[in-house]
């Protein structure tokens, strides 16, 4: 892989005010098309790292470049999926999905067409007139993902998007997310607590260690895409889940 990195972090540190170090010299490079999961115990700074990449919070030290630019300059290439669906309850599903385009000042006609297209992508084309409170937790999250995809981002940042959902829904959404990725070439950073989810989705898993947050190990996931429900049944998949779980436990126990 000689591709130039799309996202490049070099010795990135972060502390809030005079508080303790949250991230300690994190270096990471993502090539276009990477799906990188960030996993680690609470307090390892994985969500903070995501927020730095998103430009929601500035780094205290080191360099962070997206396509050779700062996160602020690259804002148009970025989309963020929050832990909560974060839908505006007074807007319909279509209204919520169209919001990023509206904020960017795109014409209404094009907005509607784009919203329809991304809603089809998450299989919610028939719910565009519904209000968020009429949707299930999984459906809300799918709307949130559709909204993130509406501006065709190059980089998709997901902060534990499926953490609050039940196992079945989560697995379905994992499969859907990969199916969507077959059609759209974005690079993903995905924060999760679930090893199984990380192994299923990503081609690279970054295991982080806490206090201060830092990169502990990186694990490559060699399975080819497209991955399906059948992938979860394979021997190799189970072995890798066990392997990553073991690493994660070793990180957690050093912190005890």
């Amino acid at each position: 892989m000689a591709a130039t990195p799309l996202v490049e972090l070099h010795d990135v540190t972060k502390r809030y005010g005079a508080g303790p170090l949250v991230l300690d010299r994190v270096s990471l490079a993502a090539s276009p098309g990477d799906f990188i999961s960030l996993i680690g115990p609470s307090g390892c700074g994985k969500s903070t790292l995501l927020r730095l990449i998103a430009g929601l919070s500035p780094a205290s030290g080191g360099t962070l470049q997206l396509d050779g630019r700062t996160p602020e300059q690259a804002a148009a290439e970025l989309a963020f999926v929050f832990q909560e669906p974060t839908l505006l309850p007074w807007l319909t599903v279509a209204g919520n999905v169209a919001l990023p385009q509206q904020l960017r000042g795109l014409p209404p006609a094009g907005r509607a067409a784009t919203s329809r297209r991304v809603l089809e992508l998450v299989r919610l084309g028939d719910r565009s007139a519904a209000y968020p409170r009429q949707l299930s937790g999984g459906q809300k999250m799918r709307v949130s993902i559709a909204r993130a995809l509406s501006l065709s981002p190059k980089i998709l940042l997901l902060d534990e998007p499926f953490g609050a959902l039940d196992e079945m829904t989560r697995e379905h959404l994992n499969e859907e997310l990969l199916a969507i990725r077959q059609q759209q070439a974005w690079t993903a950073f995905f924060v999760t607590h679930s090893v199984a989810e990380a192994v299923f989705l990503s081609n690279r898993i970054v295991v982080m260690a806490p206090s201060p947050g830092r990169v502990h190990t990186e694990v490559a996931v060699p399975f080819a895409y497209p991955r399906t429900a059948a992938t979860r049944l394979s021997r190799e998949y189970h072995d890798l889940v066990a392997e990553v779980s073991r690493i994660l436990r070793s990180v957690e126990s050093t912190d005890a």
Binding site: L56, A75, L78, F80, F82, Q83, P89, L99, L103
Partner: protein
Amino acid sequence: MSKRLLHFLLPAAAGVIFILAWYALRFSMNEEMQFLLPTPGEILASFRENGDSLARAALNTTEGALLGFGGAIVVSAGLALLLSLSSLIRISLYPYLMLLQMIPVIIFAPILILWVGPGLKSVVVITFLICFFPLVVNTTQGLISTDRNSVELFRMYRANRLQEIFLLRAPAALPYFFTGLRIAAVLAPIGALVGDYTAGSSAGDGGGLGFQAIIYSSQAKYPALFATAAVTCLLGFVFVGVVVSLSWLALHHWHDSYERSDT
């Protein structure tokens, strides 16, 4: 279905019992004391007798209440927007807003009469003062209680200040605004009545309901006083009813307080 019928029948039955008790109380009184409690029938008769003056007074009070209420809505929305911008502004101005709310109308009224003259202007100002506080406090609270994640979402998409206010903060503040509006809607007719009572004038069209109450009590027209009270109640119901309907229109699609439940 039977439940819905009960919801209609029970209050009606309670009303009938209440009116019967009223008559029972009245006719159990000494004959020379009975003037203290006119019967519903006598009150209705006094409606017919004083229809013109009551209607005119009700219109005047409604006008005062509407102008004061409307003014309070406009000014409080603007001020709430200003207050929502920074906690420093809030800290600086809150004590004085409290002060404004504490102004005793009865003492302020004669001063107001000196400033703007008796009649409608004074009534409007007093209504405004009474309605203003709950509106500005609730709306400000709504504007600053926006969900943090939603604010970050807007920052993420580089929304400008106006977009953040009109597409996020204002709609999110609507339920709070309507809470304040309901309180103010109850207060507006009362404010106009008190304003009229303390600073009303018979000039021009004549006074409002407060002024009319002074006249009736000086003429010992007790049934007419009860009729005036009934008109004021009705006015209050109309104000609250309109606000409740507006609130339903604005919120029932999405807000949890209107979650449909089939019970």
